[in-house]
Subunit: 222 residues, 2 copies
């Protein structure tokens, strides 16, 4: 485990695990996580079904691994999308459009982490930490900008968040930033989740414009 140079067995094991995950991803991308079949993966790899259980305790463990990978990939995507020196507004805009591109590229990957939870699956603590890492990127940016609560309910929320901020306990962002980061997240998710779930198809308008307006509504609040 702590070895810098891994044994050949461990290397082989890791390689097969990666191959399994690669096949799992193509399956998720096409049919979604709920239809993921370990048997089908084994068949594609030319091995028997039960052989996969040497590498993953069960189906849920494989799915959990995919969820964590998805979080990490989104985190990397955001890190790659922002230019460190840029203004917070520019960084938020970059993260917003990167998120939608990431979601539309592989809708089922987005739904895997933000859609209907697959029955029986329990999010591991690591997933919560990765989600917090994403949130931290938003908080970093919002902490650098000002933004007034636009109505009484928003003010009430902001006051509430001043004392209910365990989810951002180790981040110095003020309540206003917490509120705007949360709002940013839910507004973007509201648009993109309905889009990837196909709820806009047939409505004949451009979801990209709605998405842009929603992102701007939080970042460039009047």
């Amino acid at each position: 485990m702590g070895d810098a140079v891994k044994s050949p067995r461990a290397r082989y094991r890791e390689q097969v695990r990666d191959e399994i995950k690669a096949h799992a991803w193509t399956q998720v991308a096409t049919t979604g996580a709920s239809a993921l079949s370990l048997n089908a993966i084994a068949k594609q790899m030319g091995i028997s079904g039960p052989a996969l259980y040497r590498y993953f305790r069960n189906r849920d463990e494989l799915i959990t691994e995919l969820v964590l990978d998805a979080y990490r990939d989104l985190y990397d995507t955001w890190r790659a999308a922002v230019t460190p020196g840029d203004s917070p507004e520019a960084r938020l805009a970059a993260m917003a459009s990167a998120l939608r591109r990431w979601a539309l590229a592989t809708p089922h990957r987005y739904l895997l982490i933000y859609g209907t939870p697959v029955p029986g699956y329990a999010a591991p603590p690591e997933a919560t930490e990765l989600a917090a890492g994403l949130m931290a990127l938003l908080l970093d940016a919002f902490a650098e900008t000002e933004g007034k609560a636009e109505n009484e309910a928003a003010t009430a929320l902001e006051h509430h968040l001043a004392t209910h901020r365990q989810w951002a306990a180790d981040h110095p962002a003020p309540p206003s930033a917490l509120r705007r980061a949360l709002t940013f997240w839910t507004r973007l998710h509201g648009v993109v989740s309905l889009e990837v779930a196909g709820h806009f198809t047939g409505m004949n308008f451009d979801p990209g414009l709605l998405y842009a307006a929603e992102g701007d509504s939080v970042v460039n609040a009047p």
Copy 2:
């Protein structure tokens, strides 16, 4: 079919169909639609598995029926929530809080229509019509109020919607109302979908306050 008084066979058939759906609903409520098992329903009813195929062509047809029922139920809930004479603001507030209550009462029912689509399932045209019926209730209210686009992106969206309004073709609401209804929908969905999917658990804040702020942000825009 067109008979006002149905034959005893048809009545029996309808009764069994309803019983199947009732069992399906309790199953959906506990484990979600993706884990719905026709076999398990048959066992609960004391009949053999294949007998159910007399009443539903296949699993997807049963799920489709549940989806349509859910839409109808949400529509009725909204109709019951609003008081006709009330101000549009009051009606929108009533629909918003009714929606969240409806979603939290049976999370999987909300996810059935607004969550990850179950693989293989294709939304029937009737579902689109029912969704349009829900949207019409929002449009009715927003058409009675004023609301300015708060930034350039929102203005661009509003202009776009002036010429891309097939989804509200038979509704006289102006572009501003279309924009606000759409925004209302996605903002409420953004909060409630993350809430029912469990993404707020462990964050230790009250989603109800965020939900209220989001609803107000569209209805009581400054």
